[in-house]
Amino acid sequence: MDDPTAIPHTNGRTLTDLGRRVQAARAEVEARGETFYQGPSRIHLASFPPKERWDDWVELDSRSWPKRVERHAMLVPTTCFNCESACGLLAYVDRETLQIRKLEGNPEHPGSRGRNCAKGPATINQVTDPDRILYPLKRVGARGEGKWQRVSWDEALDALAARIRAALVEGRHNEIMVHLGRPGEDGFTERVLASWGVDGHNSHTNVCSSGGRTGFQFWCGIDRPSPDHARAKVIYLISSHLETGHYFNPHAQRITEARARGAKVIVLDTRLSNTATHADYWLSPYPGSEAAINLAICRHLIVTKRYDREFVRRWWNWEEYLRACHPEVEPTFETFERILAELYDQYTFAFAAKESGIDEAVLAEVAEVVADAGSAFACHSWRSAAAANLGGWQVSRTLFMIAALLGAVAKPGGTFPNAYNKFVPRPIHVPPHPGVWQELSWPLEYPLAQNELSFLLPHFLKDGRGRLDTYFTRVYNPVWTNPDGLSWMEVLTDEQLVGCHVALTPTWNESAFFADWVLPMGHSPERHDTHSYEQYDGQWIGFRQPVLRAARERLGERVTDTRQVNPGEVWEENEFWIELSWRIDPDGSLGIRPYYESRERPGEKLTVDEYYAWMFEHSVPGLPERAAAEGLTPLEYMRRYGAFEITRDQGPVFERPVPEEELVDVAVTDTGRVYTAAPRPDSPNIVPMGAPPPDDQGRRPVGVLVDGQVLRGFPTPSGKLEFWSSTLASWGWPEHALPGYIKSHVHPDHLEPGQMVLLSTFRLPTQIHTRSANSKWLDELAHANPVWIHPSDARRLGVRRTGDLVRVETEIGYFVAKAWITEGIRPGVVACSHHMGRWKLQGHQTGQHQAMATVTLRKEQGSWRMSRVAGVGPYDSSDPDTRRIWWTDVGVHQNLTFPVHPDPISGMHCWHQAVRVRPAEPGDRFGDIAVDTQRARDVYQRWLAMTRPAHTVSPDGTRRPSWLMRPLKPTPEAQRLPERAASGASRDGS
C-alpha cells in the first residue's frame, strides 16, 4: 500500500461523502422493501434470510454432507398456534416437493422479531405427526366405544347443518354451543354464532385467566395488562406465567433487554421456576398470600408518600368513593389521602410476612426497589395466584394498585391497558348480537363472572338446567383440561344431555374419544387467522395462513379451498364455518346467509381471500400504503410478510382530549363523567373493552372531566381508574369493592390438620396444552410431572428418595405419582405440573402413541378407577423417529382428581388443592387415579352456596352489569332477569 491515507476509487470524495452515498443507496434499497445489509448482524444477535430471497432460499442439505447438495425453498410466513403469543413463523417450503421442511422465526414480525421458543419450530412435528387426524370421522357403535368410520366432508356438513337448522327453526338456540380452547382469530367464532342468533360461545377462560382479568377490569375497564418490559426500571411478575404462557417469547426477549440495561426483576413464585432463577428478588410466598405482599408495598408507597400524588388526584375515582362511602366528609383529595392511609394501614410488612412466610426485611427491601421505579414499573399477573385461590382476582387488583399509585399506567416502562396495544380489524360483515341468553354459560349465580362458567357445564347439565343438541369442542379437550374431568366424561357419554358432540381438532384427545364427529382442523401452517397481542407499546397484526396455499399461489397456481393443499382432508376453520353456515341457511330465509355472501359477487359465497382482502384494505391503517410502496395489494403484502406494525408509542390514551366534534349536547355528572349525543366515530379497530352504559337520555359516555378538560379517560362507569368499584358495591359485594385481601380456600386457617397445599398451576415452558402430545421434540424434552416435595416434608412424610411413589389425596379422590425431593419448593407446599398425564383407553385403535399412556377406566361402587396398562415406547410408523422413543413415562393426569372451585365473584376455577400426601400404599401403581364424582357434586354444591345470585342482588333488574366485557352481548331484552327470577330481585341488593 503506497499511500495509506488515500481513499481508493472514490474520485476525491471525502469519507463523509462516501458515507452519505452509502446512506442513499441503503435508503433506496430499503424503500423498495429490500434488505441492504443482507449478512448477519453481529451486534443484534440476529441472522435471517433477507426477505428478497424468500422466493428461492438456498441452503446446503446437512444430510448430504460431505457432498454440497443445494436445497431450494420458498419462505412463507405464518403465525404460531402453540400458545397465545402468536409469534411469527417462517415455513421453509421445499420448491421440489412443495412440502414444509422446517419452521423458523419470521424477522418481519414486530412482536416476536424473528425469535421463537421451542414450541414454534416443533410445529413441523405436528404437521408430520404419524398419528394425526387426516379425514372426517363419524362414530359407529356406542359413544366412547372407539369405533370410527371415515366420511366425506359433505356428509358431515349436511348432517350438522340439518341439526342446527332444526334447532334454530324450533327456537332451541340455547342447545347449540361452541367451546373454544386455543383462540383463533379475534371475534371470528363469536360472529359466526351471532349470525346464527346463538349465545353459544364458551371459552376455557375461567380455568385460565379470568381471575387475573377480573382485577384489571375492575380498575380500568380493560381486562389485560400490557407491561412495557423493555423500557421498565422494575419488572414485577406474579408467578412463572411468563415462561409458560403469555407472552413467553415476546416478553422474555424484552425483559432480557431491560435486564441488560440494569432493570430489576422481582418474581413472586412459590416454586423455583425458570423465571424465578432469573430474578433479582425471588419471593416464595405461601400460596394465596400474594395480594398481602402487594398491599404491603402499596402501604409503603402511601406511608412514605412515594406515590404519584398528581396522577392519583387526576385519575383515581376517589371523589366518587368519598361521596358513596364517606358522605359525611368534605370530598377533597386531602381527605381522601388521609382515608387511604387509614384503609391500608393494616397491611404492614409484619402482616404480609405473617401471611406469606417471607421475612419482613426482604419485603421492605423489595418495596423500596418498587418505590424507586417511579412510572417505569412493569407488572404482570395472569394465571397462577390469580387463577388458584378463592379471591385470587384481588391479586391482580392489588398488583395494578401498585402501578396506579406509581402513576405507571401507560407510561414508558409502565403497564398499559392491553387495548392500547392491540388492534382487531373490523371484518367485512358484523352481525348483531343474539336475542337469547345462554344460562349454561352465564348462570344467574355468577353475575360478575368475567367469562363463561365453562368448567361447571357438566354440573349444570346434571342439574337439569338445560341440554345441548349440538356441542362443538374446537381445539379443546375439556375432559383433560378441566378439573373434575370424569364428570365431563359422564355427560359427554349421555346422549340425553349432549345430543351431538363434534370435535374440531387437529389431533386426538381425551374428549374427541367421546365425540360423534371428529373433524380434522389445521395447525398453524394450515389455517387462516389474524392476531394482535399486547407485547410492547405498539399495535400490530399477524396473519396466519396455510403456507402451502400461499406457496402454490406464488408459483401461479390458483387455490380456492385450503383442503386442496393441506395434508389429507384437513381443513381450516374459517372455510368450515362459512360452508356450514351457508348450508344451515341455503336460501337465506333464516337471515344467516347474508353474512357469508360476497360483496364483489353478490349472491355468491364469501371466500377467505375476499374476507381478508377487504379487512386489510379497509380496516388496517397504513397497510394499503405500505403494500402499494412495494407494488403489492394489502392481502399480497400480508401473505408475503405475515405481519404489519400499525402504530408505535400509543402512550396514555386516557389523557387524550376528546375532540370538539364529539362533544354535542353534553351532560356531565357530579363526579365528572361526560356524556355526549354525538354518534361514536367509526373505528377500524374493534378491540374488546368495557362498554359503560349511556345516561338516562341515551347519550353515550365519551370522556371524563379532569381539571376542566374533557379527556378520553377509561372505559369504566366513572371514566376513571376505579379504586372503588361501584359495580362490586351495587351487585352484592360491597365488602370487596376496594383492592383488598381475601383469604384463600387454602389459607392455613382453612386447612385441616395434616393437609398441605398442592400447587398445580404451572407447566414446563416447552409444553403446549393438549397438543404437545403430537410434537415429538417436545415430548422428548419433557414427559414427566413428578410431585415436588421439600426435603423437610419428605422426611416428615416418610418419602425416602426421589422417584418413590406418593399418593396425593384430594377432596374427591387421589392420584399416584413419583416424588421429586427438591429445595425448589416451599416447605408445606407440594407442586405438580399440569400438561402431563395424557391417556387413551385400552382397546381403542385411535389416539396418540408418543405421549399417551394406555389405561383402563372402570366404575366400582360409585367411584371411577383409572389404571395404567402401559406407558409409551418405540413403535413403527411413517416416521422412523418413533422407533427411537426411549422414554416410557408420560406423567399423571392430576386434574381428574380436582373438584370444581368456582370463585363466587370472578367465576374463576380456584386451582390450588388442599391435599394429603403420603407414601403410596402396597398395591398402588404409578398413574393410578381414583375419583368419586358424587363427592365432586357435593363440592360443587358447597361452592355454589357461596354465590350471591343476580336475582337477589341485581340493582337494575338485569342479569349482569352490561358494561363488563362479554364475547357476545345479548340484546337488552335478553339481558333482563327472567320473570321467574326477577320476582326475587331486590333493588338494594340486600
Binding site: L18, T35, Q38, G39, R42
Partner: protein, 329 residues
C-alpha cells in the same frame, strides 16, 4: 419560542452538521463490517456504494477472513495468538459495560466495526447532550482500547496477500480509522506513551532463551510484533529455496528451521525489520494511536534482535558440527 441568543442557531446547525458527518461515517463502518461477512448476493451492492472495485473474489475473501488473516482482537493480542482467553474477555467486558450481550464473535473486526457504527448512530441521535457525550466517550474507548491495538497490523498482514480488492478495502478501512482518530482525538488519552490496556498488560516480547516455547511465541503477534501468515512462510520457503511442508504455522516454521536454520533466522530478521519500519512509519504520523504503533515497532525490533542472535548461534553450531540443533515444539 424565541431564540435564546445570537449564537444559538449557528451552534445548533454546527451540531447538526457534525451529527450528520458522524452518522455518515457510521454508515461506512457498517458497510465495511458487512463486507467481512461471508459474501452473499447483497455484497456487490454494498461494495459498489463504497466505491470498491467490484466484489471480492470468494477464495481471496476466505483466505483473508478465515484462513490467513484472522480478524480477531484475541488472535493479535492474546499470549498464544489464538482466539478466546483474556483478550477476548476484555472485549466482551466492554460490550457488557455498554449494556449489550457479547456474541461468540464479539472481538471480530466486523463486530467491532458494527459496534462503532451503532455507537456513532446513538451519539448522532441522542436527544440530550449528556447522553450524546456518553456515547461519544464509548466510541472513543472502543477505538482506543479495542481497535487501535491491532487494526493497523491486521491491514499489514492482509497486504501480504496482495489482493487488489482487499488492498482497496484496507485503504478505505484505514481512512475511516484515521478520521475517527482525528474526530475523537479530544476524547482519547493524550501522549505518545499512553497505551491501551491490552498492550500495557501484554505478555513479554521475544527472548533468545524462550527455548521450546519460541515457536509458540512466533505465532503470537503481540509478542513478536509481526504476523507470520501462511503466505509469508510460503514466501520464506521460496526465498530460501527449501521445501514447504503442509501443516500449521508452527510446524511450517519448524521444518524451515530444520532445513535451513541460518537462512530462516536471517529471513525472519529481515521480515521483523520490515514490520518494524511499517509500524514506525505509522507511529511517525503522530496520530493519537502512536503509543500502540510504537509498541508494535518495539516488539518487532526486539524480535529482529532475537532472530539475529539466534541466527548467529545457528551459524556457530553449523560451523562447529556441520549441522544446527533443531527447535522442537
Amino acid at each position: 419560542m424565541n431564540a435564546t441568543g445570537p449564537s444559538a442557531l449557528p451552534a445548533r446547525a454546527a451540531d447538526a452538521a457534525g451529527a450528520d458527518a458522524v452518522a455518515a461515517r457510521a454508515e461506512v463502518a457498517e458497510a465495511l463490517a458487512q463486507l467481512l461477512a461471508t459474501p452473499g448476493p447483497g455484497h456487490g451492492r454494498v461494495a459498489e456504494a463504497l466505491g470498491l472495485p467490484g466484489e471480492p473474489d470468494p477464495a481471496a475473501h476466505t483466505e483473508v477472513t478465515v484462513l490467513a488473516c484472522h480478524p480477531y482482537a484475541s488472535v493479535h493480542l492474546g499470549p498464544e495468538g489464538m482466539r478466546g482467553g483474556e483478550a477476548a474477555d476484555r472485549v466482551a467486558g466492554f460490550w457488557r459495560a455498554l449494556g449489550g450481550t457479547p456474541g461468540p464473535d464479539a472481538d471480530h473486526l466486523g463486530a467491532l466495526l458494527e459496534l462503532a457504527a451503532e455507537l456513532a448512530r446513538r451519539e448522532a441521535q441522542a436527544a440530550e447532550p449528556d447522553r450524546g457525550a456518553a456515547w461519544r466517550r464509548a466510541r472513543a474507548a472502543l477505538l482506543f482500547e479495542h481497535l487501535a491495538p491491532w487494526l493497523v497490523p491486521w491491514t499489514l498482514e492482509v497486504a501480504e496477500l496482495a489482493d487488489p480488492w482487499f488492498d482497496a478495502y484496507c485503504r478505505l478501512l484505514l481512512a475511516w480509522y484515521r478520521e475517527e482518530l482525528a474526530e475523537l482525538a479530544p476524547d482519547l488519552p493524550a501522549g505518545p506513551d499512553r497505551l491501551p490496556v491490552a498492550l500495557a498488560a501484554a505478555p513479554p516480547g521475544l527472548a533468545p532463551n524462550d527455548g521450546q516455547r519460541l515457536l509458540d511465541h512466533l505465532v503470537a503477534p503481540v509478542r513478536c510484533g509481526l504476523v507470520l501468515t501462511r503466505a509469508s512462510l510460503a514466501r520464506a520457503a521460496k526465498d530460501l529455496g527449501v521445501g514447504l511442508r503442509l501443516g500449521e504455522r508452527r510446524f511450517l516454521l519448524r521444518t524451515l528451521l530444520e532445513q535451513e536454520p541460518v537462512g530462516t533466522w536471517a529471513w525472519l530478521a529481515t521480515e521483523a525489520s520490515r514490520w518494524e519500519e511499517a509500524h514506525r512509519a505509522w507511529a511517525d504520523q503522530g496520530l493519537p494511536d502512536q503509543g500502540s504503533a510504537r509498541f508494535w515497532s518495539e516488539r518487532a525490533d526486539r524480535a529482529r534482535q532475537v532472530f539475529e542472535e539466534l541466527g548467529r548461534l545457528a551459524e556457530d553450531q553449523v560451523s562447529r558440527s556441520g549441522s544446527a540443533a533443531t527447535i522442537r515444539s
